[in-house]
Assembly symmetry: D2
């Protein structure tokens, strides 16, 4: 379920990783007061001849007798060496880690036997040893990279690289899973901080928004400034050890009534709203910022925390809603055969219109309004993907969070992507705090979808 | 090795815990916008009748089908309920957690068999399941308490309470170990921040120093101000989720030459030193602040980080040294029988003096200087405790960190404790960065102690 | 009117000035990279022989051809020299400044004539020159001391010293007035910042509260912490160039109903109030912190700004009131002769009681309640000092601010000072925003005092 | 001298003022808790009919009997009314202020007579009254606008508007001068803060750099980021009451050797310099940011403060130099007649080249190098403007600061402006701290120019 979530929320482009490496190389320069005589000298592509040396070094880091300070110093030097490698070198480094320093099956079996046969008073200790045998040494090594400046971000980016590489090298999967376990414990939601981002934030933080936003791309610093104006809010989760890197962020507009068009929201020339008059908060964009945290979801917490915070700060806000795309709608529509569509409300009319003219990727004609909205309503509320869960990933995300499908908006997103994926239609998912809990459970357990009363007629033939 | 370290560095008094509970009760008030209808209603002492209800609630938190946000909300309510209990109630709560929600032996065995017999391509997944079976559900529950305000500090204090309680209830040992594992991953040294504390720090932080310092007790705010004056430095490690709670802190004096008397250092009336003239940094007090983090050592990192930082900021500093007690010296001296002592340098003279007059707990007479310094030198450098490691815990701590025994100071601590434990003698342990690494290894592996050339004559008969 | 205000609000003790000088000497050390070859070498007591050298130096600072950077560098050296002087030396320095570098009467007359006879188009320029002729050169010199670290505080303290010295040396009065003019322009209320002070503030700021509070002395850091607890507020005005020095501060308690006893408010053992239930803010102490800013009043702004801020933050607060002493009451009472007192409500009864027993400085007996409250009410609302303004300085301060005399509290301050000055009675002055403006004008223009309806019976015979 | 300085340093474009007004209108909204019943209701263009009402209001603000808090409240309402006016309305408002509320000549004469005839003991008081009679009431009124949010910036911008308007309405000159006096006292250099600006600064601050830089225009946020990279520094003076508004800022590059080409410095694609290797700080751009502070110079302080700060932070820096244009060179060259030029080193060759081809505004040919550099050297060091001071404004600025003309760089600025004004030549002015003082005096008093030994041959025929 979590992995799905991250499919839906837009991901940062991988180019940032390249930039990060350059940045880290600069700030990880060997300090002049280095107490270990010689650094590791590796060729950029990590020639096979270097592997020997590398393994010796890693052995050194993991020696039992090595004290912790020394072990960490060595790990730091290892981290610096990794950064000096080129793309090929980094792959080889990771493959080498994947091959060595994993868990030892025999040791596990031994520990298991010891545990199983341990007398009651030694069970706990034997259990602890069994646990440790399941902890690969390479994970201990990787952990220690956090001692480098911006080391946590470094590990997050290493996982991003592993997620890409493991498509080519399946043998990296376990290493990637090791790293994921580590990151799950560090990025526990209770350790994160919800922070507001605005025009007073540092340029260093703000340029990350531009880089990471992908739902409705930020075109320029002027566009960004408009999105941070006095009638807008932007919130992000941060990890205290990555203070300049948002993990996930949401953009909110404070408006009067349910917003029904995203271009209007993003129009830089539009007049500023008086937030004293606003009664509705519209969540119009939510982006995951760290590909290296894929599968570690924060989105379901973010919206609710932001709702709670806005409600406290602006008690006159009465509604909290998204303005969301239906990314899978057009694809689904195309895949249905005629006989299936004919069974659905609006299906026949749609087939008629479709055959009359080519309307894909264009602004749909006025007469398509009724049939397409009906089909969209059916798609969102009735069409299932895995089990009893909604096929549309965005719908699934908000429904599992306890939201209601509240309104469908015609000609609400006239961007190329909006027309191509959602036929220009956008959805308002409504977050009503008192019902969130029960709706979330009804959906998760039985697949029941909360649909606003006003939309139900759309489903009738 | 780690546990020993924490024996040596002074620990905070447990009274703070009581204060914290009152403080947390205040900041954890049930919010008015609570979405879950009813809180848990428990009697303060957690009567047996309440256990049923409590178990049901905990079951609810751990249900598979419960979504993560709901699960965390319930955990938070559980945490608030725990806080409202009195001491007896809290013990019962913890005992109940210890009894239930531990690991399931049968499940472990099943997982192990599945893993052992898994085909290669399913090994990783099976390994992951085996790992999870070793993770007790109660740990998942406790983790989620971090969502409460100051939740991380809450868990640290819960472990402190467990460490005390497990002396009475050994069945709490595993629960305590669970919590320790959690805290080890969160308090990894690479995630901590080294920060300077001075008179510009908040009163909230500073009052913690007064509460936690125990090597040389801070008598008053004036005493504290004197220790933070322009010729002093104080550094602490902080965890980002506990920003007002130092984990460990060290007090440093910038002086000319090796300081040889601690009362002089602490004298509020002493003139301020011109730090432009200082060539030596004296580490005269190091205190662990969090009993709940016992066994998770930061001390060996703290000194070296502070040395590095001071060196960069004040390049004219040439020496980094402690001014330390010998807490085990007098006890050891008393335990030696006469024939053994006679073999040692200074032993005969000491036996003579001792028989002549009662000198325990008093300022030792001038003629005891030579024999006692000799015996102290022998004690520190030759007397072994576990294996080849020094018997004196402070000596062990600094030697394993790579320091040298550089100087012994006569009449250096005239406090009651100083006379009683160390016969008023104090030691300078010298940290010389280029030799730290090798000295640390020599000591850890072979027990070799680095002793300044000038002290060696003291060992000769 | 301003000078009176500062008489009423408690002033800081002058000892702080001595401390400041020591502090400044430390932070004003001659920098090593000094570009001016030789500093001024003066004897600590500024022997007459040094005056010559000093005058030459000052001449150098004020030379027309000297560029501004050089002039300021020289002024800074002059400032450092001043600091190295002892008390006598500083007096002589100031006397020398007072004697030289004042305004030049002939030059003023010339400028005036030039201005008077100037053709229209040159009038403005001539006016500017006349203005400049009235600006004494020593003021230009003093201004430049602001370039020293904490230079603004230095000048404030210099004026404090002048205010004391001019009692002995009247010839310093003009120099003091010069400095006052300078400080008035810098300490314009619009340039000041209202800031909250709490337990998260720096110890450096907090120790100033302890030093400067004089209405109800702060006994210890524990007492201070109690006054900054969650049901208390403390606000101060700060000047941006004196960030660690409050100019004036007020202590507020958030309570239910009008507080009627100050010892209860200050009791550290009293239970914490739930501020969600509070409906009243009690201003129970207001202190001027800088003797050097005497006559530059901020008090009338402070209360209103704090009222506005509290009202916004805690909309459930319904009343804003002081709990104030009547510092002149007992003195006034003693000075009245019998025949006058007999005319007043309560007068006869009081004379009777007084003659029966000695009650000065003791807790007054219950039967004195009615007569003393009546006399107090008369004293506050009817007895005039200068013109039609109230004789009691505290009453005058709050009435000119637009407050109402709302309640008199019997046995409300049992401290020695409270009994001696106010017979233990305290007053609630009520600030009701809608009426503040008109009440302030009625009082200032006609001396009309706003008295609560409930108090009026006290005035009737 | 000051006014000249501001001619030389680039000024911000006036468009910002318009933006500011919009911004202020937003943040000065009438608060809901307004205690004065009715605001001023004026027509946007301030029709003549409104003047009456306005004057009444201003009278109200200045009434003697009005207490200070009320007076300031009224002034604030006046400020809000001013902001709601359009351009014409604002002119009329200012003209009205200029006409009324100035100084009163008769009152001045009276005060002068009183002062002149005052007995010694009343002289000081009479002097003070004379001073006050020279203080126009409108200045008191304007001062109180500082109570509005961002009020100080508001007054700075009002003066900027006055500086423009007084060209059309000379009668505004005195009002402008009043405001200037006020700003001079508030913007005293000792009250300003030198702060570093970098990529961690807020976007709100950074966008001001883009708007205000005019020496070498900032093309984009990428250009800006390049100028704030790790081998660059940017420093600005800030006033504490205008925390988001730099007053003046300087851009510095840390390089190896004297930089001799500005396009190279600004090239975003150029590799990052290792600042550990840098030995020279190049000041390549200095911009005044506030047109409203014209004539209040900070530039001479800024460079020296930055030099001192850089020297402390990077002790390995050995040289501090500018890379500056010669804005008046080409104009001067054109204005010389042939016979004059022939007398100068390089003059004949230049006349020859010039007659051969049209070279104005183009990259000058290689053979022009010698003659043009010679003429440039003559121009900078020998050609005088006012009195004995250099004709070139940039040269004058740096020479009066105590710098040396150290190097002339051929083809150093190939921008259109650089070719047109300076024939592409740029100058390094060298700041050598030990000589700054004496060079500055020699130049100011006798016009002696410090010219590097290596440049002197250029002057020989």
């Amino acid at each position: 379920m979590m992995t799905q979530t991250t499919n839906l929320i837009s991901e940062a482009t991988p180019t940032l990783l390249g930039r990060t490496i350059g940045h880290l190389r600069r700030i990880w320069r060997t300090p002049s007061s280095n107490t270990i005589a010689d650094e590791l000298q590796l060729s950029p592509e990590l020639n096979p001849g270097d592997s020997e040396q590398l393994i010796q070094w890693m052995d050194g880091c993991l020696l039992q007798e090595c004290n912790e300070v020394t072990a960490r110093n060595r790990a730091v030097i290892l981290g610096r060496s990794y950064l000096r490698l080129n793309e090929q070198g980094r792959s080889r480094f990771l493959l080498l880690l994947a091959e060595h320093y994993g868990i030892n099956n025999e040791q596990i079996e031994d520990c298991f036997q010891l545990w199983k046969n341990a007398p009651a008073e030694e069970r706990a200790k034997a259990g602890q040893q069994l646990r440790e045998s399941l902890d690969p040494p390479r994970l201990r090594l990787l952990t220690q990279f956090n001692g480098l400046p911006e080391g946590v971000k470094f590990l997050v980016d290493m996982r991003a690289e592993l997620l890409t590489l493991k498509k080519t090298y399946p043998q990296l999967a376990e290493l990637e899973a090791d790293l994921k376990r580590l990151l799950i414990s560090w990025f526990d939601i209770g350790l994160l901080q919800l922070e507001q981002i605005n025009w007073q934030s540092s340029a260093e933080r703000l340029e990350k928004l531009i880089a990471y936003e992908a739902v409705h791309e930020i075109q320029s610093w002027d566009d960004l400034k408009n999105r941070l104006d006095s009638d807008r809010r932007c919130f992000a989760f941060f990890h205290p050890n990555m203070p300049n890197e948002p993990l996930i962020f949401v953009e909110v507009a404070l408006v009067k009534g349910l917003a029904n068009n995203v271009q209007t929201l993003l129009d830089e020339a539009a007049p500023l709203q008086d937030i004293q008059q606003a009664d509705t908060a519209i969540f119009y964009s939510i982006s995951n910022a760290q590909p290296g945290l894929a599968g570690i979801s924060f989105g379901n917490f973010l919206i609710k925390r932001v709702v709670a915070r806005l409600q406290q700060e602006y008690p006159h806000l009465k509604q909290f809603s998204t303005l969301s795309p239906m990314p899978g709608f057009c694809r689904w529509l195309e895949q249905q055969n005629e006989s299936e569509l004919e069974q659905l409300s609006g299906g026949k009319q749609w087939l008629q219109l479709k055959s009359d003219s080519d309307i894909s990727g264009h602004m749909p004609p006025a007469e398509a309004r009724e049939p397409l909205l009906s089909l969209a309503c059916h798609y969102l509320s009735q069409v299932k993907g895995r089990g009893h869960l909604s096929k549309d990933p965005v719908a699934h995300f908000h429904l599992s969070n306890g939201a209601q499908i509240a309104q469908l908006n015609w000609l609400a997103d006239s961007s190329a992507k909006g027309l191509q994926q959602s036929a220009g239609i956008m959805v308002n998912y409504l977050y009503q705090l008192p019902q969130i809990e029960s709706r979330s459970q009804d959906y998760s357990q039985q697949g029941s979808v909360s649909l606003a009363q006003s939309l139900k007629p759309l489903l009738k033939l």
